[in-house]
Structures are given as C-alpha cells and as structure tokens.
C-alpha cells in the first residue's frame, strides 16, 4: 500500500569530525523517503523554495518519490546548519533558516488524499493537523515531533496525539512531554495521551516500543564508523512505516520486523553524510543487514 509523508525538504549544512557538507539535500521527509522507498511507493508533501536545485528534484524523482503534493514557493528552502562533536550522539544547531517553511500550508493532490498510511514527520504540529484533516480516510497514522514543538506548541501536539496511531519520539522528547524520567513510565504516560503505540528512539542505544499488548526493545546495529547521524531517526521511521505499509499487517510480529528494518535502515544512514549512503542502497542490501542484525541480537 502507498505511503504518504509530510515533512521538511531541506538544505543541510553539516559538520562532523569526518568533514563538512554545505547545503546538501536533507530534511525529515527526504530522509524518511530514502528508506521507505525500498518498501513501497512514497508520496511527498512538502515545500521547497525558488533556490531548490533542479538536480535535487531530478534525484528524488529518480528514486521513485512521487511529488504531486510538493510545492515550490517564493523564498528560500528551509536551511539547517549544525555540527556534531565527540561521540556524535547529539547535534548542535548553529542556525535555522525557516524560509518557505514559515508559512507552509500543505497542498495535497486529489490522488494523494486517498492514501491511508501516513507519516507526519517533524514539522509544526499545526501543519501536521492541517494535513491530517485534509486526508480522505487515514487508516494508519504515525507522528514524529521535536523538543522545539513540545516547548512552543504543546497544546497543538497534544490535540494531534489524540488522532494518531503511533507517536515516535526520541528519549529526550519522550521524557520532556511526559514529565517522566524512567522511559517505561514515560511511554505509559504518552500512551494515555492518545496513541495506541509509543515508539521511543534512543539513538545509539536502540529503540523501545510500548503498547497495551506488548513491549519490544532492541539495541542499535553496532557500527564502528559513524560519519553523520543527521536524519537517522527519520530513516528509522521510513524503514518502520515502509515495512508496515507493504505488509499491510499491524500485528505484534509485523511491528517487531518493522522496527528491525527501521534499525538497519538507520545504520546505513549514519555511515554517510546526508542521504549519500541511503540513496545508494537497495532492498537486497537492507535485507542482508537485517539478517546479520538477527544474528547479533537473537539468542
């Protein structure tokens, strides 16, 4: 089944101990799409500015990403500047230029409105709600957010959480929104806010899934070389949602497999800057690492 993603398409300037990339293709929806595309057809809802390079549009098209609902507006494309140091576990934001993102209102094509599998990647929660209300028949909806929105648009995010199936958060966000330090308690509290399933991403420490029926916990894929973690969480979500959209099932075993696919997809993401690595992998490579990962975690 098709999968629709709302999020940012960005130009990222990123510095890590392994180098510097200026205004490379990035953004939550792009990173999501790079892994999700391996499972099903991806429909992008986003905005770019007049400065957005034609080669990037061509690149996305070449990856099979449909952008009937991509808008090009007057102004500059969203531009994030950040750096990573030491163990590369947390980004330091140096600058955020919202550009055309500041007054973005999703325009969804008639065809895209019928899609049932929806991922609301990190963007203003009011924009996420706006999109969701414009869809014909949402069947399976997951939402990601970030600390900035938890701090500045908590009420909007809480309204949105009542309407989604899955809330995807990193550990800091889960703690911040729930007010709980312990992650299991945090997950329980977030569950009570609406989403039947809470998925907490812990970066290099893996992921925890919580719902009323089961808990699932998994470490990250062990890597000795992390080049650039930007977009790892979105790449994880792309593998996760992509697998579920393709399988069409929402049972326990499918959730578990989806998390594993998300985990190995994310492991490719951090091995290169931006989408340099994920844009080059195919499903066979993903599946190969999936099997290796099983060996590493199954007893």
């Amino acid at each position: 089944m098709s999968l629709l993603v709302l999020g940012t398409v960005a130009l990222d300037t990123v510095k890590t101990p392994f180098g510097l990339r200026k205004k490379m293709l990035g953004g939550s929806a792009v990173h999501f799409s790079m892994s999700a595309r391996l499972f099903t057809d991806i429909h992008l809802v986003a905005v770019v500015g007049e400065d957005f390079p034609a080669q990037h549009l061509k690149f996305l098209k070449g990856k099979g990403i449909a952008f009937d609902s991509l808008v090009q507006s007057a102004g500059n494309t969203f531009h994030w500047e950040g750096k990573y140091e030491g163990d590369l576990n947390s980004a330091v934001t140096l600058n955020t230029h919202l550009g055309v993102l500041s007054d973005f209102s999703p325009k969804i094509s008639l065809k895209d409105r019928k899609i049932g599998n929806i991922f609301l990647a990190n963007i203003d929660p009011d924009t996420q709600m706006n999109l969701l209300e414009g869809m014909d028949s949402p069947r399976f909806v997951a939402v990601d957010s970030m600390n900035y929105w938890i701090d500045t648009k908590r009420a909007s995010l809480l309204r949105l959480l009542k309407k989604v199936d899955i809330y995807v958060a990193n550990d800091a966000e889960a703690r911040s929104l729930s007010g709980e330090t312990n992650l299991i308690k945090a997950a329980k509290r977030l569950r009570s806010l609406g989403p039947k399933t809470v998925l907490i991403k812990k970066g290099e420490h893996g992921v925890l899934l919580y719902n009323d029926k089961f808990i699932f916990s998994l470490p990250a894929y062990p890597l000795s070389r992390v080049i650039d973690p930007t977009g790892a969480g979105d790449t994880f979500a792309g593998g996760f949602m992509g697998y579920l959209a393709r399988s069409g099932k929402k049972d326990k075993e499918s959730f578990k497999k989806a998390i594993c696919y998300g985990t190995v997809a994310a492991s490719f993401n951090v091995e290169g800057f931006g989408v340099e690595r994920t844009s080059r992998i195919n499903f066979e490579q993903l599946k190969k690492r999936f099997k290796e990962f099983r060996e590493i975690v199954i007893f």
Copy 2:
C-alpha cells in the same frame, strides 16, 4: 562446576530517591554471589573487618555461599557511601573507607585452589593477579575493574588482561582504557590487549559482547521502577558466569544465554536496595523473567 569469586565484601551506605540504607551488606563479591548462587556453588575470597556483623555471615552461609577463603582481619570492613539522583544512572561517591581492604592479600583454601571458573570482581588489579597466580589450574577467568584502577594502576591491569579470558567493563571504563569513543572500536582495542572476549555493560542500555567470532548486543530488561542500582553490574556478571560455570560450555549460544541470564538477574538487583531483592529470588523466578525477556527482545 564450582565458581570462585574474588572481590569486596562491604558495608554500603546508599541514598536514592527511594530511601536511605546505612551500612547494609554490599560489595562486588556479594552482589556477584547473589545471582551466581542460583546456578552453582560459589566460593568467596574476600576480607571483612572485626566490625562485620555476625548476622551477615550467617546470611551468606544461609545462601549457600562457601567462605573457606574469607578472612576476618583487625580493622573495619570496607565501607562505601554513595548516592544516586535523577535517573539513577550514575553513582556519586560520597566517601570510601578502605579499612581492612587496604592491605588485603587473598588467602585461598587448598580446596578452593582447584576451582577452574574464576571471577575477579572489582578490586585492586595486583590483588586480582595475586589470586590468579595462587590458583592451581584456572580454566575460565573473567575480570572486572573500575575507572579508579584504570587511572592509578593501568600497568597492573594491562598485565592482568593478558591472562584472562573475558574482560568485563562498563562503557565509560571501556572508553577510558581503550582511548576510543566508539564502543565497537573500544571493544576491538581491548580485545587486542589479551582477553578473547570483551563484555561491555551499558547500564540501562544493555550490554555488548565482542570477540573474534561474533558480536552480541542486547538491551536491558525494561523496568519502570529502579530503586537502587548499586551492584547491578556485579549481579549481571554473577548470572553470566554462573550460567557458564553450570553449563560447562563456552560456545556462542551459551555466551548468549549467559548474557540474558545476567541481564535478568541485574533487573532484579535494581528493584531493591543492596541485595534485598536478589537474595530472595530463586531460580524459577529468574527463569520466568528470562522467558518474559525473550518475548521482549526476540523477533
């Protein structure tokens, strides 16, 4: 097969958000024994002072711990004072009173010298080496240490590492001794120092095993209530070494199972102060949680 443990027997004063315990029974060898006793017979090599309460000796005896090689010396028992705050992930040491530990030299009974499975729990690496050299035929030896010894007795620790099968370290220690930030790189570097297997404990984030043949990674058992993490690492090691001593096997599957038993043993430890919880569990309870844990991590 029997299992010998060298380490500390201590009186611990611990404060956590859940309460305060003054001079309760603790120490690396005691925490280790509380989980290892569920698998095989445990022989303790340690020293206590004149102040060591007779009731604690009686308690250990009641748990089946053999102490033919436990020495009672003039002076006070090793006393650690510490506290945990916030997420309880790291201890703050308030005071360390070495007491009889400051000039401890292991006295091993003739019978105990024949034991082949040996765990050198955290204590001065010269004392660990001293014990190892006094054993008749070490067959399987694991060593734990701590940052204090890495900083002050690095040469002694490096000498010791050449003579052991397994080095057990937490993530901070692994990074400190190896000089590597990335844990896989750290494990490789530590492997090159001697031990065929490196086991890195990541606290609430689980554990990573590295050797030439395979990598195994496992999250921690998810708990919503952590009362006192003191001794969790030693309790983990006790479950790990206890299982391996009982099974007598050292293949990949046995290592994996041993790590899982260590993980669930540690989860009991943190649910109570000191050994309050681990001293009351039996093998059936451990096995039950082992099965629950499989459900949580297997896909």
